[in-house]
C-alpha cells in the first residue's frame, strides 16, 4: 500500500503544470525548432534561385507529374498515420499494425521516388551537388527532408515491431501520437518544399 502512496517522480510527472505530457510538449517544442531549421534551408534555396552560372536549370530537370505522384503518396501516408493513431486509441492493435505498415510503405515509396529522382538528375541530366547553385541548394534541401522521412520510416517500423511483440496498448497511444506529430510535420514541410522548389517559377 505504501508503494502506491509513495511520491514517484515518474507518476508525479503525470500531474504536469500544464496538464500536457512532457513528451508531447517536448515534441511540439522540437518541431518549433525544426521550423527554423527548414526555414533557413528554404531561405537559402530562395536566395540562390536564379544564381546558377551554368545549367542544368530547374526547368531542364524537374518532372512535376512524377514528383506529384510521390507527393501524393506522402500525403496519403499522413492519412494512414491518423488511422494508426485512431486504431490504438480504441486499443485495436491489429489495426495499428496495418496502418503503421501502410504508412511506412507510403513513406518508403516517397523515398524511392526521391532516390529515383536523384539518380536520374545525376546520371542523365548531369546535375550534381557541385554543378551549380541550383543543384547544391536543391540536393541539400530535399536531402535533409529525405533524411527526416527516413528517420520517420525507421521510427514507424520500430513501432510496428513493438506492436507486433505486444508492447503497445491503448495506454501507449501517446508513443504513436508523437511519431504522428513528427510524421505530419515532415509531411507539411514537404508541401512547402514541393510548392517552392517544384511549382513556383519565380
Amino acid at each position: 500500500m505504501a508503494v502506491e502512496a509513495a511520491p514517484n517522480p515518474v507518476v508525479a510527472a503525470e500531474h504536469t503544470s500544464t496538464g500536457l505530457n512532457h513528451r508531447k510538449v517536448l515534441m511540439w517544442t522540437f518541431l518549433g525548432s525544426e521550423c527554423m531549421f527548414f526555414a533557413s534551408l528554404i531561405s537559402n534555396f530562395q536566395v540562390q534561385r536564379g544564381r546558377s552560372l551554368n545549367g542544368p536549370y530547374p526547368d531542364d530537370v524537374i518532372n512535376i507529374p512524377f514528383t506529384s505522384i510521390s507527393t501524393f503518396s506522402l500525403l496519403m501516408s499522413s492519412l494512414m498515420m491518423v488511422l494508426a493513431l485512431a486504431a490504438i486509441q480504441r486499443n485495436d492493435v491489429r489495426g495499428l499494425k496495418i496502418w503503421l505498415l501502410a504508412c511506412a510503405f507510403l513513406g518508403t515509396l516517397f523515398l524511392g521516388g526521391q532516390f529515383f529522382e536523384f539518380t536520374q538528375f545525376v546520371a542523365e541530366k548531369g546535375l550534381k551537388l557541385s554543378t551549380n547553385l541550383f543543384g547544391a541548394s536543391f540536393f541539400v534541401l530535399t536531402g535533409f527532408h529525405g533524411t527526416h522521412v527516413t528517420i520517420g520510416v525507421i521510427w514507424l517500423i520500430s513501432l510496428y515491431f513493438a506492436a507486433a511483440r505486444g508492447r503497445i496498448t491503448v495506454k501507449d497511444s501517446l508513443s504513436v501520437e508523437l511519431a504522428g506529430l513528427y510524421w505530419h510535420f515532415v509531411d507539411i514541410v514537404w508541401v512547402a518544399i514541393f510548392t517552392i522548389v517544384y511549382l513556383l517559377k519565380v
Binding site: N8, T18, H22, L26, T29, N44, L129, S137, D172
Partner: protein, 659 residues
C-alpha cells in the same frame, strides 16, 4: 522519456542505483541534474582557464609594439579560439550549469523533465568542446575568427583543417544546446510545483526559459549556415563562393541571425542571477518584477530583429541601415528598464555587501558602460568609424566579461553554499572582486581610446610611434591582474570546500525555494514537493504576508527556517515513510548518453579523415538511440521484488525516442 507512466515498484528499503554508487563511473552514467550541473560548471571553468591563457598570450604579444611572442598565424588561432571558447565553451555552459542546478530547485522539482536527455546534452557538449580544441594538437586550430566570415573559411583561402575543426565542433555544440534547451523549456513549462504560476516563478527561471527559447530558435540557423559551409568545403558546392555564383553575404546574414540572439543567450542568464542576488541582499522584493520579466521577453523578441547592425559596414543601403539602427536602439529600452529596476531594488534597501552582492552591483555598473558603447554603434555613421577597431572589443568585453562573467561569478558566490554546504571565504572573495574590477577596467577601458584612435582588432602587432604603446602595456598588466584574481578565486573555492563556515539551509536568509532544503540538497531535492502560494514563496513562508515589513527587523542570519523544515519531517513521518527519502523513486543512471555523444565525436572525426569512420560513429549513435529507447527509466525489479513490482513488467517500453 522520463515520463512514461510506471508504477513505483522498488521496495522501500532499496536505494536508487545512482545513490548507492560512487566514484568515476557514477559520474559518467549520472542523470542527476545537480551532478550534471557540476560537470558543466567544472568543464566550463577548465575552458575558462584555457581561453584565459589564450588571452594572456595575446596580451603578451600586444604589450609592446612589434611584439615577437607569437607569429601572425598563431595569433589568428589564438583570437579565434579565445572568442569561440569564451562564448560557446565558457559562458553558455556555465549558464547551463546554473540552469541545471538551480532551476529544478527553484520551481520545486525533483529533477528536470528528461534526466537522460540532460546527461546527453552534457556529453555532447563535452565532445564538441574537445573536438573544437583538437586543432591545437596538430597546430591547426581554427583561425578565421569566431564568426568565421565566408571566403576566409572557404577552400582557396583556408586549406588546412583549422576551419573544419571549427565548423564540425560548432555543429556538435549546437546539437547539445538544442537538446538542453528543449529539456529546460519543458521542465519550466511543465514541472513547476503546485501553485507556482508563471508569474510566481523566480526571475532566474524566467530568464532561463527566455534564453532557452532563443537557443531553440537561433541554433537551427547557425546549424544550417555551418552545414552549407561544410558542403562548400567537403562536397564542392558554392553557397558562399562568388566565383561559383554564391554569396558570402549569405553567411554573414545567417551567422548574425543566430549571432545576435546568441549575445542575449549569453547575457540573459546573468541578468536572471542578478535578479535573484540583488533582492536577497537588499532585503526587498525585486522592484517591478513583472517589468523585469516582460523586458526579458521584449529583449528576446527584438533580438531577432537587430542582426544587420553587425553589417553596417557592408553596404546594405540606407533603408536597411536605418531600420536596423532603429531596432537596435529600441532594444536598449527594455535593457534600460531592467537596469532601473535593479537600481530600484537597491534603493532604500538594507544592503548587505557580500561578495555575491558586490559582483551583482559590479555587473550593473559594467553592463551600463558596455550598453552605452553598444548604443553608440547602433548609429551607422558612428559604427563605420568604430567597426573593426578595439572600440568594439572594449564594448563586447564590457557586456560579456563585465556583464555575463561578473553575473556568473555573483551566482557562484551566491549558490556555492547551496552546492557545497559551506560558505566561501568572504575576505578572499572581496580580494577577488576588487582585483578583478581593477584588472578588468585596466584591460578594457583603454581599448575605447585606442579603438577610436584607429587601432584595428585582430591584428597581431602594431608599429611604434602610433601613441598606443602605453595603453597596450596597461592593458596587458590589467589582464594579468585579472589572472591573479582568478587564482585567488580558485584558491578560495578549494579552501572553502573544507574550511568554509557551514552554511545551513539558508545562509543568506533568501527568498526562493532552493533555500528551503538542506545544503547540499539531497539526491531527491524535496522530501515533499512544496505548495507555492506567492512570489518569493520561501520568504513568505518565513515571514508571512507582511514579509516586506518584517524584513526590516529581520536579522541577516536565518532565523525562521528551522521550524519549517521540522514541519516537513513531521509530515513525512506521519505519512509512515521515515526520513532519508528512501521512498522517493528517482530515475536510474544510464550509459547511453555518453555512448551517443562518443558516436557523434567519431562521426565528426570521420568527416575530416575518412567517411567510413563516419559510418562507425553513426553505428554508435544508432545503437545508443535504440538502447536508450528500450531502456526503462528505472531498472526492472530484481527477482526478489515483491508482487507489487509486476505492473512494471507489464508496462511496456516503446521505441519512441527520436532523441
Amino acid at each position: 522519456m522520463a515520463t512514461l507512466v510506471r508504477p513505483a515498484a522498488r521496495p522501500l528499503t532499496s536505494l536508487p542505483r545512482s545513490q548507492a554508487m560512487t566514484g568515476l563511473w557514477s559520474w559518467i552514467i549520472t542523470v542527476d541534474h545537480k551532478r550534471i550541473a557540476v560537470l558543466y560548471g567544472a568543464t566550463a571553468f577548465i575552458m575558462f582557464l584555457l581561453g584565459g591563457i589564450e588571452a594572456l598570450i595575446m596580451r603578451l604579444q600586444l604589450a609592446t609594439p612589434n611584439g615577437q611572442v607569437v607569429d601572425a598565424d598563431t595569433f589568428n588561432q589564438l583570437f579565434t579560439m579565445h572568442g569561440t571558447t569564451m562564448i560557446f565553451l565558457v559562458i553558455m555552459p556555465l549558464s547551463v550549469a546554473f540552469f541545471n542546478y538551480i532551476v529544478p530547485l527553484q520551481i520545486g522539482a525533483r529533477d528536470v523533465a528528461f534526466p537522460r536527455l540532460n546527461a546527453l546534452s552534457y556529453w555532447i557538449f563535452l565532445a564538441g568542446g574537445i573536438f573544437i580544441n583538437l586543432g591545437w594538437l596538430i597546430g591547426q586550430a581554427p583561425d578565421a575568427g569566431w564568426f568565421g566570415y565566408a571566403n576566409l573559411t572557404e577552400k582557396p583561402y583556408a586549406m588546412g583543417l583549422n576551419t573544419d575543426f571549427w565548423l564540425l565542433g560548432l555543429q556538435i555544440l549546437g546539437i547539445a544546446s538544442i537538446l538542453g534547451s528543449l529539456n529546460f523549456f519543458v521542465t519550466i513549462v511543465n514541472l513547476r510545483a503546485p501553485g507556482m504560476r508563471m508569474m510566481r516563478m523566480p526571475v532566474f527561471c524566467w530568464m532561463t526559459m527566455v534564453t532557452n527559447i532563443l537557443m531553440l530558435l537561433a541554433f537551427p540557423v547557425i546549424t544550417v549556415a555551418l552545414v552549407l559551409l561544410m558542403f562548400d568545403r567537403q562536397f564542392g558546392t558554392h553557397f558562399y563562393i562568388p566565383s561559383g555564383g554564391g554569396d558570402p553575404q549569405l553567411w554573414v546574414h545567417l551567422f548574425w541571425v543566430f549571432g545576435h540572439p546568441e549575445v542575449y543567450i549569453l547575457i540573459l542568464p546573468a541578468m536572471g542571477i542578478v535578479s535573484q542576488v540583488l533582492p536577497t541582499f537588499s532585503r526587498k522584493p525585486l522592484f517591478g518584477t513583472p517589468f523585469v520579466i516582460y523586458s526579458g521577453i521584449a529583449i528576446a523578441f527584438l533580438s531577432f530583429g537587430v542582426w544587420a547592425h553587425h553589417m553596417f559596414a557592408q553596404g546594405l543601403g540606407p533603408t536597411a541601415d536605418a531600420a536596423f539602427a532603429f531596432s537596435t536602439m529600441a532594444i536598449a529600452v527594455p535593457t534600460g528598464v531592467k537596469i532601473f529596476n535593479w537600481i530600484g531594488t537597491m534603493y532604500r534597501g538594507q544592503l548587505h555587501f557580500t561578495t555575491a552582492m558586490l559582483f551583482s552591483v559590479g555587473f550593473i555598473a559594467m553592463f551600463i558602460i558596455g550598453g552605452l558603447s553598444g548604443v553608440m554603434h547602433a548609429s551607422p555613421p558612428a559604427d563605420l568609424q568604430q567597426n573593426n577597431t578595439y572600440f568594439i572589443v572594449a564594448h563586447f568585453h564590457y557586456v560579456l566579461f563585465g556583464g555575463a562573467i561578473m553575473g556568473l561569478f555573483s551566482g557562484i558566490y551566491y549558490w556555492y553554499p547551496k552546492t557545497i554546504g559551506r560558505l566561501m571565504n568572504e575576505k578572499l572573495g572581496k580580494w577577488h572582486f576588487w582585483l578583478m574590477m581593477l584588472g578588468f577596467n585596466l584591460t578594457f577601458f583603454p581599448m575605447h581610446w585606442i579603438g577610436l584612435d584607429g587601432m584595428p582588432r585582430r591584428v597581431y602587432t602594431y608599429p611604434e610611434g602610433m601613441g598606443w604603446d602605453s595603453y597596450n602595456m596597461a592593458e596587458t598588466i590589467g589582464a594579468f591582474v585579472i589572472a591573479v584574481s582568478i587564482l585567488i578565486f580558485m584558491y578560495n573555492a578549494v579552501w572553502s570546500m573544507r574550511h568554509g563556515a557551514v552554511a545551513g539551509n539558508d545562509p543568506w536568509d533568501a527568498r526562493t525555494l532552493e533555500w528551503s532544503i538542506p545544503s547540499p540538497p539531497p539526491h531527491y531535492n524535496f522530501e515533499e514537493i512544496p505548495v507555492v502560494t506567492a512570489m518569493d514563496d520561501w520568504w513568505h513562508k518565513k515571514y508571512g504576508d507582511t514579509g516586506h515589513e518584517a524584513a526590516h527587523g529581520a536579522p541577516a542570519a536565518p532565523p525562521a527556517m528551522a521550524g519549517a523544515s521540522v514541519d516537513h519531517d513531521v509530515h513525512t513521518e506521519h505519512a509512515g515513510h521515515g526520513g532519508g527519502g528512501h521512498h522517493i523513486h528517482m530515475p536510474d543512471p544510464s550509459y547511453f548518453p555518453i555512448i551517443l555523444a562518443f558516436g557523434m565525436f567519431v562521426m565528426a572525426l570521420g568527416v575530416i579523415t575518412n567517411y567510413w569512420i563516419c559510418l562507425v560513429g553513426f553505428c554508435f549513435v544508432f545503437a545508443a538511440i535504440y538502447g536508450w529507447s528500450f531502456e526503462p527509466v528505472s531498472a526492472p525489479e530484481p527477482p526478489s521484488g515483491s508482487a507489487e513490482s509486476h505492473p512494471v513488467h507489464e508496462t511496456p517500453r516503446t521505441p519512441v525516442a527520436a532523441h
